[in-house]
Amino acid sequence: MTEIAVTVEKLQRRLEREKRAKQEAERLLEEKSLDLYQANQQLLLFTADLEKIVELRTNELKMALMKAEAATRAKTDFLATISHEIRTPLNGVIGMARILSDTLLDDEQQNYVHVIDTCGKTLLSLINDILDLTKIESGNLELEQRAISIVDECNSCLKILNEQATKQQIRLEKAYASNIPAYLLGDATRLKQIVTNLLSNAIKFTHHGKVTLSVEAVEISNTNVALKISVSDTGIGIAPDKIDRLFKPFSQVDSSTTRKYGGTGLGLAICAKLVNLMGGNIGVESEPGKGTTFFFTLTAQLATQEIATKTNHVIQQENKQLSILIAEDNLINQKVLQISLKKLGFTQITIVNDGMQCVELFNHQTFDVIFMDMQMPRIDGLDATRIIRSLNLEKQPHIIALTANAFQEDVKLCNEAGMDDFLAKPLDAKILKEKLKLLKF
């Protein structure tokens, strides 16, 4: 073999080797591409699986949440129902205790009756608080939006608590800033509930000195105002580690507090919830032994003019006995109302047991005032009212609703049905008197 032939052969072998290496590389590349493709497919499947799992989990969580919410609702409903049911017999107890106290009793007996009355009222306020709280927690509380005067409402709170303060020899002071707007839109009842609650607590826990109610506008725009309302006392104060628990239900600082100072332990929880509903915050600053300041903020729309407050329907009936109809199915309630009315000097009282009887009476007779229970057999109070309002009577009666649930919607329902006024059970003799006084004789 020549040298050239040898070289050519060598080069050919090298070329062959390179070719095979290239083919091998291409095969590997192909293989890798396939691997990659399969891995990608796998990843897609995996992603789809993952999405399914996530969806499943989300649904499970949703179900769990729904169950939890349903349980809470059931609890709230139960509390509301039970509280409501307790109010009816309690109405009887408190009413009868009051009637009993007006009979001839010796001092000892009078004392016993007083205890029944006090216990009954405590229980009643607890039940009212529970109803309030369940109401707020179930999201069923609607706040009114009416033109109110903050100064007037605060003054009326001070007036309510004046007696309690005087009894304890505590000074009750006010400090209103000059920048408070005259009228704003809000819920007077709920606002007063918060302020009286804070004031009453402050007085309760203060043994010397004073309780001050301050109001100031912290921010005013053309349309809105942010108010800060504070109640400061010179009382026993609250230890820092107890402060967090204050606004939780049933969390009076400790049980000895309950024994010594009374109260349901729900007041502040309700205040906190109400303030939240009003879009504000509640807070407290305290120094044990020195005193405590509770404050809350609320933002409200400014009211340009005072919306005329609803004047009570006036019955002109001078020197004439009012004819009164009581439509109520509960015997005890009938008795309590009847006796209370008699005490106030009303003698022309007719009693019916349901809405049907009530409506039938109007076929041949009319009344000046009807006390109408909302829940009655056959025809309920609302329907009976509607029927009576549709009758062509010479003079329509003044209809006062009687109900155990003092909720906002009930007031609305009563108004819509054509009732004139509203009386919550258990009956409060003072309020009954006030309501009837407004009707001129």
């Binding site: 090298r14 062959e16 080797r17 590389a25 590997l28």
Partner: protein, 176 residues
């Protein structure tokens, strides 16, 4: 063994001994694929061993010396091919201590079929002790790589090598 070790070995033989020598040892080693290697393929490490033995016979250089030289050469290639591994590393002992847990760990991610050795590493004062474990018996390659590292970090190592058992070799390294 990864094909890149083979292709790097080829280029070392080509530059140091010429293309004819490469042809010859490929023939001598009687390789199953006729010596067609690609960097991304995977081949039996015994094929490399066969070529090294053939090279030793023809060049009359002992096998361990050849493998060691290849190791040092390979290290230089790693520096060129994987510069990332050398970023921010200034200490040779720190670098060597991280071969198994950092560098070979990354290699394994890239080539899941790679067969890598295990190292037990310990720094005792100014001495680095590396114990090499592998049933492929490339302790000489490891030594060459270590020497490559010393050159890269511009240091002079005194390396004491001792076989512990069939599959383990201890390197005691002291910086001069």
């Amino acid at each position: 063994m990864k094909g890149m070790v083979f292709t790097e070995f080829f280029s070392l033989v080509e530059t140091a001994f010429g293309e004819d020598m490469l042809d010859d040892i490929i023939d001598d080693a009687n390789l199953p694929n006729g010596g067609a290697y690609t960097a991304v393929g995977t081949y039996n490490h015994m094929e490399l061993v066969a070529m090294v033995i053939a090279l030793s016979t023809r060049s009359e250089i002992p096998v361990p010396d050849l493998v060691k030289t290849f190791g040092t050469y390979l290290f230089g290639r790693f520096v060129a091919l994987y510069p990332n591994f050398f970023d921010n590393v200034t200490d040779s002992f720190v670098f060597l201590s991280g071969i198994e847990n950092i560098i070979h760990a990354e290699v394994l991610k890239l080539y899941p079929d790679a067969n890598l050795p295990k190292f037990d590493v310990q720094i005792e004062g100014d001495e680095l002790v590396m114990i090499y474990h592998s049933n492929r018996h490339f302790a000489d390659l490891a030594e060459g790589l270590i020497i490559g590292a010393s050159q890269h970090f511009d240091e002079d190592f005194k390396i004491v090598k001792a076989d512990l058992d069939e599959n383990s070799t201890e390197f005691r390294i002291v910086r001069q």
